[in-house]
Symmetry: C2
């Protein structure tokens, strides 16, 4: 388990493009993973790459994922294969004076590694709580926890946060010298935010049942 505050670059995790956007601080990695809501999981299925969105959770230097044992891709990942998990937060649309300098502001964490099936009951329970608390904080102690039949249908995967890269872009557009005097052309940023709406009760919930505080007061992600 890495104890250095700096990420350890390998060939896979060393950025070859725009290395100035790379972040080497583990705190930065944790911040991106904690700010995202979903990840994209990539694996090789047959000879082809596959990329699907899924939930996740982080506990220290371990990323947890889960999926249905009815999914072939989940069963593949549970065999312990190379996977890539990417969390991307789009922060802005960047308008430059030249199209080539148009860009996005974003925070992105890419994690490479070999998946590990979590089979120990105690770790599985812990991992499911971590995943649940990431997407729906407060739910684990409020809603009904999984029974043995439900648990049997869930595969839990762990991925060490050892081989990772974090890339962040923020601020103004970059410009070319040729465009510096084009004061008639607007440039700037439109910020993109993920905003949570008010809780909407399911049709079958009694009208007078209050929304519990962990849902009613949930802030939008930053």
């Amino acid at each position: 388990m890495p104890t250095s505050p700096h990420l350890s670059p390998t060939a896979r995790s060393t950025l070859t493009r725009k290395p100035g956007r790379a972040e080497t601080d583990r705190a930065e990695l944790g911040a991106v993973l904690d700010a995202g809501l979903i990840c994209h999981l990539a694996l090789v299925s047959g000879d082809s790459p596959l990329c699907v969105p899924t939930g996740y959770g982080r506990d220290g230097d371990t990323l947890y994922l889960h999926g249905s044992t009815g999914s072939g891709n989940v069963r593949t990942a549970a065999r312990g294969v190379d996977i890539c998990v990417t969390v991307t937060i789009l922060d802005g649309i960047v308008y430059a004076r030249s199209l080539n300098n148009h860009s996005m502001n974003y925070r992105c964490a890419v994690v490479h590694g070999r998946s590990r099936a979590v089979t120990d009951d105690v770790e599985r329970d812990h991992a499911l709580r971590v995943i649940s608390e990431h997407l729906t904080p407060g739910s684990w102690d409020y809603a009904r926890t999984p029974d043995s039949k439900e648990l049997a249908g869930v595969a839990v995967l762990a991925l060490d946060l050892t081989e990772t890269s974090v890339k962040i872009r923020g601020g103004d557009p970059s410009e070319q010298p040729a465009d510096a005097d084009r004061d008639d052309v607007w440039a700037g940023v439109i910020d993109v935010r993920t905003v949570l709406g008010p809780p909407r009760p399911a049709t079958y919930v009694p009208a007078d049942l209050p929304v519990p505080p962990h849902i009613a007061e949930r802030p939008s992600p930053r």
Copy 2:
């Protein structure tokens, strides 16, 4: 090029999990691709999967991507390899009475296929316009178009929208019969929206330069 309004499932694009969430209408595929801002591109690099966010654009049954020729992954994709492009829009966080039924509302399109490097000048120019107009509509006719040196640094890829799957979840949480009488437990949905902020000019833009309408009046995605 597919002319049927229905998607053609193959082994890779046939959903094995929750097939009730599959959409087989090509219009639905187009709607998801048009509503997303970024995609995740997965490919196999060495023996390992890699998944990175990037911009894209769609013209009919062709998806276009671009990237720097300085990127090893872009050069790999430009050789014509199997790739997977996934566009995910998170629409809501679904709180059920049981943790096992917690879920997300989302729209997701997954496209499998072999990438094709776009080398013809006319198609390249068209593809770059399509990609630009997707992320920054109106910019192509407003900002400076790429010069020959800038164009030389950009690789353009095409992917046929032939082998695709679309998966959509919306509405209330699912519940188990065992939880149906738990009228003391709240369940419902928190909607997730992607909201664009007001345009913020770059520091070097004259204070009295108006924001052009294609930027000032840009609506948030739906």
